[in-house]
Symmetry: C2
């Protein structure tokens, strides 16, 4: 949070960031093909010249956006995980995971992130570079989830009933699937749905989620 001297390089970096943020909004709203660079630039408060000054092409902009959002996602991810590691290693990881979910949910506010993610997935089907990044990201996500699950097993000192690798894939799929479901039917996914999902997952692992030491979840969180 230090105020850098606003050197020319910083100015350029700022416009680039503004363009990326605007691109996230516009691409999420209209999709890749449906978006125009004019609208992206205008949303950022610039014109198309600024876009082509900072990115090689429309695809280049989209790929840069993909990179940036992936990094953001993992920043939130590992942030919460690290936070959890600092706390006690008890078996009631439920509030921590719940916090993680809420952190990811509201990552870009509302359905924007989910929409953008779907756009990435579809776009990647025509762009090998994007596909590679997406695949790598999916792997990293599952690896993180797997480690988290294995920690749970280690904490309760039991042998896994299901393969932790598969459980990780299922957990990630379930989370993304709920986001997708919410796009199709906004009323389908509520707070209790999330809780039930956590209950099912912890149930599958072998933890009884009915023994929380506390419930630090603020309900009316934005």
């Amino acid at each position: 949070m230090t105020f850098e001297p606003l050197t020319p390089e910083r100015r350029r970096a700022m416009t680039r960031q503004h363009l990326l943020d605007a691109a996230a909004v516009v691409f999420a709203k209209n999709g890749f093909h449906g978006s125009t660079l004019d609208e992206v630039a205008a949303t950022a408060g610039f014109t198309k010249g600024a876009v082509y000054s900072n990115f090689k092409s429309k695809d280049d902009l989209f790929l840069a956006l993909l990179d940036e959002r992936i990094n953001r996602e993992f920043a939130v991810f590992s942030d919460v995980l690290e936070q959890g590691r600092l706390e006690d290693q008890g078996a009631d990881q439920l509030p921590r995971v719940r916090e993680l979910l809420h952190g990811l949910e509201g990552m870009s506010g509302g359905d924007t992130w989910t929409t953008l993610y779907l756009e990435f997935v579809l776009y990647a089907r025509h762009n090998p570079e994007a596909q590679a990044k997406l695949t790598a990201t999916a792997r990293r996500e599952r690896d993180l989830a797997q480690k988290l699950i294995e920690n749970e097993y280690a904490a309760i000192g039991e042998d896994p009933t299901f393969s932790t690798r598969e459980m990780a894939a299922i957990s990630v799929a379930l989370f993304n699937g709920l986001g997708l479901e919410r796009l199709a039917d906004p009323d389908a996914v509520t707070e209790t749905t999330i809780d039930t999902m956590l209950g099912v997952l912890f149930d599958a692992i072998g933890i009884d989620p009915d023994t929380p030491s506390e419930s630090p979840v603020t309900e009316g969180s934005k």
Copy 2:
């Protein structure tokens, strides 16, 4: 399978169907905005004139495709469900559900259906009519899943540990989520992943899936 006399109306219906099938392929490949009506027509073996003779606009074609695929999906759905109802009402519904999943999986061959579904979801964000249809479809899916789950509970004569409504939402989300995950990383979802998913779900319901009377699942079912 009866051979109708090929009246003019039938000819027209056939070209319409060809156009819809071609549209499914092309839209799944290039997305809605990325597809051209010329390519759709050419794929079907016609020209654009045939398209505008059978559909009002590009959006109209896409909406018609949405309708058709939704109907197909439910045809497969209720077909398998009905088939299951004719068999014994025993507790080993696992092979039946597994068959249901495989039926839905290969509905349009490979990832085509999943891709098309994502395209529908994104498209619906700009088209209220499509959104309404999609929401209604999601509701029907969950209702079917819920009934299936309630039947399980009734069969084993126990009280639900989790809300059947939420369990239904989770099941559907899990299934769609796995399809989405497979698009991001084709190696992520295997046969064992599906089996583990079923194990988790049945586990949550309270059924021990390790007591199958038989395993009629043909592995190499292309």
